[in-house]
Structures are given as C-alpha cells and as structure tokens.
Symmetry: C2
Subunit: 159 residues, 2 copies
C-alpha cells in the first residue's frame, strides 16, 4: 500500500518514523515557521493556477484598498526594499492588473491603482484566500479572536 518501508538502518536513530525535535518542541518561533510554511504551501498550491502567488496577493490587496498609494508606501507596508517593489509592480502592470501614473504634485512618485482586470483578479484571489482561511478557521475554532490577537501582537511588538 504505502511506501514499502525498507528495514530500518541500524545506524539510524528514528525507529518509528517520528523525527525528534528536541528543545525546538517548545519554541513559538519554530512552530510559527512550520505553521506558516504549510499554510503558505497549501494556499499557493491551490491559488497557483491563476498565476498569482501569495506575494503579489498582498500587493494587489494593498493597492486595491489604498488607491493612489506610492511604491514607497507599498514598500513600507510589505516590509520590502523599494528595489524589490519595482519589478513586482512592473510585473503587475505588464499583466494589466495595475496602472502606474506619475504624481502631478511630486513627479518623483508613482501612484498605483488597480485596473478593472486587477479588481477582477483580486476578487478571484480573495475568494481563494477566503476558502483557504475557512480551513484555518475550522482548525482554530472558537479561539480565533485570541489567536489573531496574539499574531498581531507579535507583528506589532517585534520590530
């Protein structure tokens, strides 16, 4: 049926297939990493079809919620360098999802807005994200409010 497990190598320690974690077992940071990793992969696997990976999702959402925001605003909001934002938004523009217009009041700045196609793409992504998050909701259950509060507290205080 499953993987025809060969005889356990005597040199190998894990007899039952369970890998020991050691002190990491009680570390919040470590389990935060594992949970995020699996959550991210689950989301990406299903949202991968519409060619929109989680990184661009946040950008699209932020632009949609804050039309006219500049690349520096976005850079700060997603905690990425401006040189990371440039190819990101240019890619979104190339795909017709975002418009980039030079600000008339400060010609150094580029104002970002969603196009109609961008709105549609965002809606589709939101549907996907909502579906994915329903799974997380089901897992977390009635402790969601507190769980969310702690995650936000970590984000807010660890900077």
């Amino acid at each position: 049926m499953t993987t025809t497990k060969p005889d356990r190598d005597a040199e190998s320690v894990e007899q039952d297939g369970a890998i020991g974690l050691g002190p990491l077992e009680g570390f919040i940071g470590f389990h935060l990493r594992l949970a995020q990793d699996v959550s991210f992969r689950t989301f990406a696997r299903h949202a991968g079809k519409p060619r929109l990976r989680p990184g661009r999702f946040a950008a699209l959402m932020l632009i949609g919620q804050n039309p006219g925001l500049t690349q520096m605003d976005l850079s700060r909001a997603i905690a990425r360098d401006k040189s990371t934002v440039t190819p990101l938004v240019q890619g979104l523009q190339r795909e017709g999802l975002v418009s980039r217009t030079v600000s008339t009041t400060d010609r150094r700045r580029v104002s970002l807005r969603l196009t109609e196609a961008g709105e549609a793409a965002l809606d589709a992504l939101l549907d996907h994200a909502a579906e994915h998050d329903r799974k997380l909701d089901a897992i977390v259950g009635d402790r969601k409010a507190e769980f969310l509060h702690l995650l936000k507290k970590i984000t807010g205080e660890l900077s």
Copy 2:
C-alpha cells in the same frame, strides 16, 4: 528628527500613514504570514553573525536530535526536496559541522551526524533561539500553551 514627511499627495488615499488591509484584516493566514515574517527577520538579524541562518538551524537541530538520519529522512522532516537537501548538508559538511558517512547496510544512504564543532554551533544557535523565543514568550504571555497548540494543530491538519 524623524522623517520630515512631505505634504501628502492629494492623489494618495492614506492620510494618516495607516495602510488599510481590507478583508485581509480578519484572515488567519495573512497574519500568520506577517508574524512569521517579522519573527524570522528578527531572529536572522541577530543570529546572522554566526553565519547560521534559520534554514540551516532546523537541519542542524534535526541531525543533532536524530543522529544517523539520512538525507531523505531530513528531506521529509523539513518538507523540502532531496535536491534541496544535498547542497544544504554538503555546505554544513564543508564547514565542518556535519559528517556524512555512507550506510554500511544500504550503500545508497548517507548517514548524517554532528561533529563536535557542529554540536558547539548548535548550542550557540540554541542560545540565540532561546533568547529570541523569550521575546515571543513575553508577548504571548500565559496563553502560550494554547497558542502553541493551535500552531501545531495547523501544521498537523493542513497537509
């Protein structure tokens, strides 16, 4: 003093510097991502000195806790392809932290073990991680047990 904030562009929506998140505000997955991102960066920034980034940390820990484990065991434990593991462990070996010996009972397999230097490096990293996790403990407070339980539940059920 602080950033001499220029006049807000009339084209820009966020008047108070707060960027709206929209529906993402209530998404567990999104906040999981933000919290992990900031936690990871904080850890990496401080642990960056000893040239041991968080990815190698998990590998070192797993090898330390499960001496003799094979590259496939490690691959499964960290949920990465075997082709990702090869350069990872070869790098650790090159730096003298890990020994790689061909199994005598199955000559396809490579058994991984920490060297003395590897043990020392792991100890140093553990100190760093413990220090970092104390910050997280302080933020999470007495709800740590439940928080950890939910993170593990997500990791366990989302696969």
